[in-house]
């Protein structure tokens, strides 16, 4: 059940991605926001959903974003 609920949340997020993607003029940002990236983001959110002190989850979020940007660069994205 728990996995089903998380999968439901991911499906909702993926469902809204296209609309938000149309607002983004950065092609790199669009590329980074892949299914995998959003699934990782949701995993992070699920892990930290009961965390009152948000500093650690925010650090983890920034790290996830930084890693995604770096991975995108290594994949040959134009700088």
């Amino acid at each position: 059940m728990a996995e089903r609920t998380k999968a439901g949340a991911l499906a909702v997020v993926l469902g809204h991605r296209e609309a938000s993607g149309s607002l983004m003029t950065s092609d790199r940002a669009k590329t980074i926001m892949s299914d995998r990236f959003l699934a990782d983001l949701l995993d992070l959110a699920w892990q930290n959903q009961f965390e009152q002190d948000r500093s650690a989850p925010r650090r983890a979020l920034r790290q996830l974003i930084a890693d995604a940007i770096e991975a995108d660069r290594l994949n040959g994205a134009p700088q």
């Binding site: 728990a2 949340a9 997020v13 469902g15 959110a45 979020l61």
Partner: protein, 656 residues
């Protein structure tokens, strides 16, 4: 999560060490623990919660001090320690949680106790600072209320059902927590924070170049506008939520007025009918008045009609007499002409000799008849004049009109009397209710509906502006990425946060609605399985998780028995459990208190489907072993009975 074993020492009525093997299979997931009142069912329930979270809640949700959980008998024997060991399995990994308190002298309060907690994973001790985090990860206390619940918690839900606005924030928060909504909400907040930070860093880097001044100012302004719009949206949503809660409260109130309202509507309809009847009566009265004024002769109409009949007969007789005279005169003239011309007046042939005598005799006979008939007959013109004068007084139409008007007058009178009697009866019923209050509640309800509609429009408009601002910001950030001195990597980061921020805003709203629909479907499914009323089709859950039963025609059923409310609460808990963000064992302490036999049977059949492990703490009043166990046939994995050893002491015995 699945419990494997529970060991307790000196807790509640359990003096010394007692163990319960809780390891069950998926096929037989129920652990059944029988115990009469005061035998220690709630102590076992509290032992599990205390082991996991360090505290147990008593009546009205108040925390029970650890000293109050300790065995009085043990304390009296100068044994000042209490321990709970809980073995459980989660995600294929075995854990042993051990929580104990110890005092040197007889403890008076929790400050006298020294607490020691340990958690072993696969036999290895975890660091103390990781224990709470690990347990929270497995089954957070905030959502444990949907896994470990007792009759009192069911009561809390019944209160929620009875009054959707009372305590609804607390309940809604905890429900959304178990469903995982905060995961997205907190992520949205974290991303928004990171977006602001990235935007600041981006601008700081670009500001050093004077050439970027205009672009920086533009981004700054767009950022400010976007934040202002998002703040407005949040505020409007808050207001909308409050308005929605108020609307639900007023709807509830109006439904309470339902019967009264029906009376009020009936009275209004009667007022209209009464006015109509009075109008009809007035109209009929006026018709009668006009008819009587123009028909003053009507009392003599019968005499007039008799006279008219006489006149008609006399006129007919006079007309026949006159015709007879005319015929005789014509005959006399004809005979005279024939004799004078000696020819037949018909064929013009000469008359035979001797015919004249015959004609003379005939002429004489006609003359005699004329002489006899010429006696004065009635004066026909006079008769006809009199008859004509009588004509308007013998008209049947006037009489019929008058009769119709009189009937209408009488019918309207009867209607008025009947309506007044009925209205008086309703007014007597309404005496106890304030019609002004009903009317005022209706107006407030309408105002709420209008306000919500207005807010929806404003929120939609603001969201439209937010989309424009996000789009504009994204364009500006793209320009910034290409501006001299700007860090393109930072621009990508800012654009990514901006896109994510918008994405999550949209997703939270959709996810909340999706969860509500999902819980409604699951709770309805369970409710249909356990209710004994075949006409109940399911449950309807509003935005704040207030529940109502709906029948097959989609009508809401407001009046519910205590048992039905318990069923609804169980269905909600079951639905939430099925949709929960975490899976765990369900522990129910005395849950069937107010159920009748058939509901209890249905609930017992449903219980094994509630989770992969269900611990039922029951007393004989709600579950009789001989009578009810057949409903759990084959699904009971472990069974225990709590036995009395004394007023403050019990022990646990395994049944099989």
């Amino acid at each position: 999560m699945r419990f494997l074993r529970l060991a307790i020492e000196n807790l509640g009525p359990y003096c010394g060490r007692h163990e319960l093997d809780l390891n069950v299979t998926q096929e037989a997931p129920v652990v059944l623990i029988h115990g009469e009142n005061m035998r220690g069912k709630s102590s076992l329930f509290n032992a599990v919660k205390w082991a996991l979270y360090g505290s147990a809640l008593g009546r009205r949700g108040r925390a029970i001090p650890s000293t109050a959980l300790m065995s009085l008998d043990a304390i009296d024997h100068a044994d000042y320690h209490m321990l709970v060991e809980l073995d459980f399995e989660h995600g294929g990994v075995e854990y042993r949680l051990e929580r104990q308190v110890q005092a040197v002298t007889r403890p008076q309060a929790d400050r006298d106790l020294r607490t020691n907690v340990s958690l072993r994973r696969q036999g290895h001790f975890l660091a103390t600072e990781d224990i709470d985090r690990t347990i929270d990860d497995i089954l957070h206390p905030d959502i444990s209320r949907f896994f470990f619940f007792d009759g009192e918690m069911l009561n809390q839900y019944e209160i929620l059902l009875g009054d959707p606005t009372r305590d609804s924030d607390l309940v809604r928060r905890s429900i959304e927590q178990i469903l995982g909504l905060p995961a997205l909400q907190l992520l949205e907040e974290d991303v928004a924070e990171a977006r602001r930070d990235a935007a600041k860093r981006l601008l700081k880097g670009a500001e050093v170049e004077r050439r970027n001044e205009a672009l920086v100012a533009s981004i700054r302004q767009t950022n400010d506008e976007l934040e202002a719009i998002e703040r407005d949206i949040r505020e409007m949503r808050d207001v909308r939520e409050k308005a929605s809660a108020e609307k639900d409260r007023l709807t509830e109130r109006l439904e309470q007025f339902g019967e009264v309202q029906a009376d009020v509507r009936e009275l209004d309809r009667m007022d209209a009918d009464l006015k109509d009847a009075e109008e009809r009566q007035k109209h009929a009265q006026e018709s009668c008045r006009v008819l009587l004024r123009d028909s003053w002769w009507m009392p003599a109409a019968r005499l007039a009609r008799a006279r008219a009949e006489v006149l008609d007969a006399t006129a007919e007789e006079a007309a026949a007499h006159l015709q007879h005279l005319a015929d005789l005169r014509a005959r006399s003239t004809e005979l005279a002409l024939s004799r004078a011309s000696a020819t037949c007046s018909l064929c013009r042939r000469p008359l035979d000799p001797g015919t004249d005598e015959l004609l003379a005799a005939a002429e004489e006979s006609v003359a005699d008849e004329l002489a006899a008939a010429s006696s004065p007959a009635s004066d026909l013109p006079t008769i006809l004049a009199e008859r004509k004068a009588l004509a308007r007084f013998v008209s049947e139409a006037s009489l019929e009109q008058l009769a119709t008007a009189e009937r209408a007058f009488r019918r309207a009178g009867l209607d008025i009397r009947r309506l007044r009697q009925q209205a008086d009866a309703i007014k007597d019923r309404l005496k106890e209710h304030d019609r002004a209050e009903i009317s005022s509640t209706e107006m407030q309800h309408e105002a709420c509906v209008r306000q919500i509609l207005d807010l929806d429009n404003k929120i939609a408009a603001a969201e439209g502006r937010s989309v424009e601002m996000h789009s504009k910001l994204s364009r500006l950030q793209q320009q910034m990425a290409e501006a001299p001195g700007a860090d393109p990597r930072l621009a990508v980061e800012a654009a990514l946060y901006s896109g994510l921020s918008y994405l999550l805003q949209q997703s939270v709203t959709s996810f909340r609605e999706q969860l509500r629909v999902q819980v409604e479907a699951e709770a309805s499914d369970i409710f249909r399985a356990i209710t004994t009323e075949p006409d109940y089709a399911g449950l309807r859950i509003n935005e704040r998780y207030g529940l109502t039963i709906v029948d097959r025609d989609g009508r809401e059923i407001r009046e519910r028995s205590a048992g039905a409310e318990q069923i609804v609460a169980l269905a909600l808990i079951g639905g939430l459990n099925r949709c929960a963000t975490r899976e765990g064992p369900v522990v129910m302490d005395t849950p069937f208190g107010r159920l009748d036999t058939r509901h209890r049977e249905n609930v017992l059949r449903f219980v094994p489907t509630l989770g992969t492990q269900v611990v039922l703490l029951v007393q004989s009043g709600e579950l009789d072993r001989d009578r009810d166990l057949r409903h759990l046939d084959g699904v009971v994995g472990r069974e225990y009975v709590l036995m009395r050893d004394g007023p403050t002491r019990s022990h646990v015995e395994a049944v099989h």
